[in-house]
Amino acid sequence: MSKRENGKVMKDLKKKLKKKIIDIAQPREKRIYIRVEPEKTPEVVEYLFSKYKCKFCTASGIDMREGIEIIYHLAREDKNMVINVKTLVPYSKLEIESIGRRIKAFRWIEREINEMFGVIFKGHPDMRRLILPDSFPKGKYPLRKDFKNSDVTDEDYDYERSGI
């Protein structure tokens, strides 16, 4: 993956997504980071996924104190490039357009982010709990920074709801 080819991918992405993205950076040879506003993420990600023939690796949520940053990791196999699309969803308005509505690959990961961070995905087909048990106390989001491991202990789980 010579430098020249890397540059070509960068230029080509800049040209296509010019107006939709805030900025685009390539700190290392095989990684591209694109920063996008929350409203524009579905278009950028769907463009990358369908027309740009990228494979969807996963999406990770990070609690950045002022909001939840969601990063969609997509990989372009033949050009051997990992493209990450970053958006910051502010705490004030914790919701974002769901991509899982059209593309099936995103459904499960959106359910997990919703359960772990509390981000609401508008239009998601079946938004249920994916991993946490039903007896997990409501309103608590484990992967947020303010949640400590010791916050939820044995007593907080009310076991009646666990459907025995």
Binding site: C57, T58, I62, A105, R107, L130, F147
Partner: protein, 404 residues
């Protein structure tokens, strides 16, 4: 049509992993499928935020017992991507050897289970018997049968001395013969052909749409193999090829896995033979600058993805882990539709889920009498089918390995 579904507890005699599938059926045909996971949740990502960079490989190793070296491998690649250091060649080749050994014993475990589902218990006993030799090699090289704790960001924790390499080279050879025999037993058996061909088909478009990974996608003609697409320097000068099959049914997935075993054996031999002499095996990273990095590696079941974000302290700010089965599991919706219940056991086994979930399939009949089919039911249904196929082919059933 009102459907009453009684969720029975996940505990069940022969169960390995508490996992629960619900099939919506019309008569024998499967209409829809619902998956309920979460019995194994241990909050690993939260724990990772409380551990230092060097402690995480131990935690990450225990995510899944069978692919227990792919996770630390992907994690180390992520940290190296963050730091930007390059790992000495000898360390990379040692990593290749350990990962390929694990791929071998994971595929053999799968071959055993697949044989068990078709009803050939001898195949199960054989596959697991020859798997023991590989586990012994692992024990000789790394000290433990499964959780090897060999990797750390920047290189490898322990080196192979001369005597270990001889032992491994000598014993890896006598693994090849049984694998060839197993491949022969599975690939040229007309009954298995009839049983596995044409069922649980995952079309190429579906594979891409669900972003299936590993043998599940390579079985449908999608040539995604992280070892090829993002090769480590270790892989550059080793000769091997990605195995891809076209028609995406259970048979082609099995062919992909079996041929990969041969690739792994040859890879191990090549890597062990040209290990560079006397090099340092660690680029010993002193401290981790703020920034982020992603690491990807090809586990036996597909691509493992780790994302690491650091804010300069000695603990990661965020560590995202995604196991391959997370992407492969939803593909059942596409591959199980329209199949009979008897084949469901095979289809769920064909993606070799990280937790073998064929034990608990609750079949919900459309006219809402709910019948719980346990693993033995599925087994027997699929074995009945094998026997009927055998009669059609005029072959006598193998004498004593059909007993469940």
């Amino acid at each position: 049509m009102k459907q009453t579904i009684i969720p029975l507890g996940p505990y069940h005699p022969l169960l390995e992993e508490p996992e629960h599938f619900k099939l919506y059926v019309e008569g024998e045909r499967v209409v829809d499928l619902d998956v309920e996971i979460g019995y194994n949740h241990r909050g690993i990502e939260k724990l990772a935020e409380g551990k230092t960079w060097d402690q995480i490989p131990y935690l990450v190793e225990r995510i899944c017992g069978i692919c227990s070296t792919s996770h630390p491998m992907a994690y180390c690649l992520a940290v190296e991507d963050l730091v930007g250091c390059d790992v000495p060649k000898r360390a990379q080749l040692i990593r290749v050897v350990v990962c390929e050994l694990e791929r071998l014993h994971s595929h053999l475990l799968w071959v055993g289970l697949a044989g068990h589902f078709i009803g050939y218990n001898t195949v199960w006993m054989w596959a697991w018997k020859y798997r023991e030799t590989i586990l012994e090699i692992c024990e000789k090289l790394t000290g433990n049968r499964n959780h090897y704790a060999m990797f750390k960001p920047g290189g490898v924790r322990r080196d192979f001395n001369k005597e270990q390499i001889e032992y491994a080279l000598e014993h890896i050879v006598d693994v090849e013969k049984p694998i060839r025999m197993l491949t022969g037993a599975i690939l040229d058996d007309p009954v298995i052909h009839k049983r596995l061909k044409g069922i649980g088909v995952l079309t190429k478009k579906d594979a891409i749409d669900y972003s299936a990974l590993g043998p599940t996608s390579r079985g449908s003609g999608v040539p995604w193999d992280v070892r090829w697409d993002e090769p480590l320097d270790g892989f550059k000068d080793l000769k091997w090829k990605v195995i891809v099959q076209k028609d995406g049914d259970v048979f082609s997935k099995s062919v992909v896995r079996l041929l990969e075993c041969f690739e792994s054996v040859s890879l191990i031999k090549q890597a062990l033979l040209n290990l560079p002499e006397g090099e340092a095996i660690d680029a010993d990273i002193k401290e981790v600058p703020p920034g982020e990095g992603c690491g990807r590696y090809e586990a036996p079941r597909g691509e493992v993805f780790h994302y690491v974000r650091s804010d300069g302290s000695n603990m990661p700010y965020r560590h995202k882990v995604r196991a391959p089965t997370f992407n492969n599991l939803p593909t059942f919706k596409a591959s199980c539709k329209g199949e009979t219940i008897a084949d469901v056991a095979l289809i769920t086994a064909s993606i070799d889920p990280c937790y073998c979930c064929t034990e608990r399939v609750a079949v919900v009949d459309k006219n809402n009498n709910e019948k719980i089919l346990r693993e033995k039911d599925l087994l027997r249904l699929s074995v009945d089918k094998t026997k009927s196929v055998m009669k059609k082919l005029g072959k006598t059933p193998p004498l004593y390995n059909m007993e469940i």
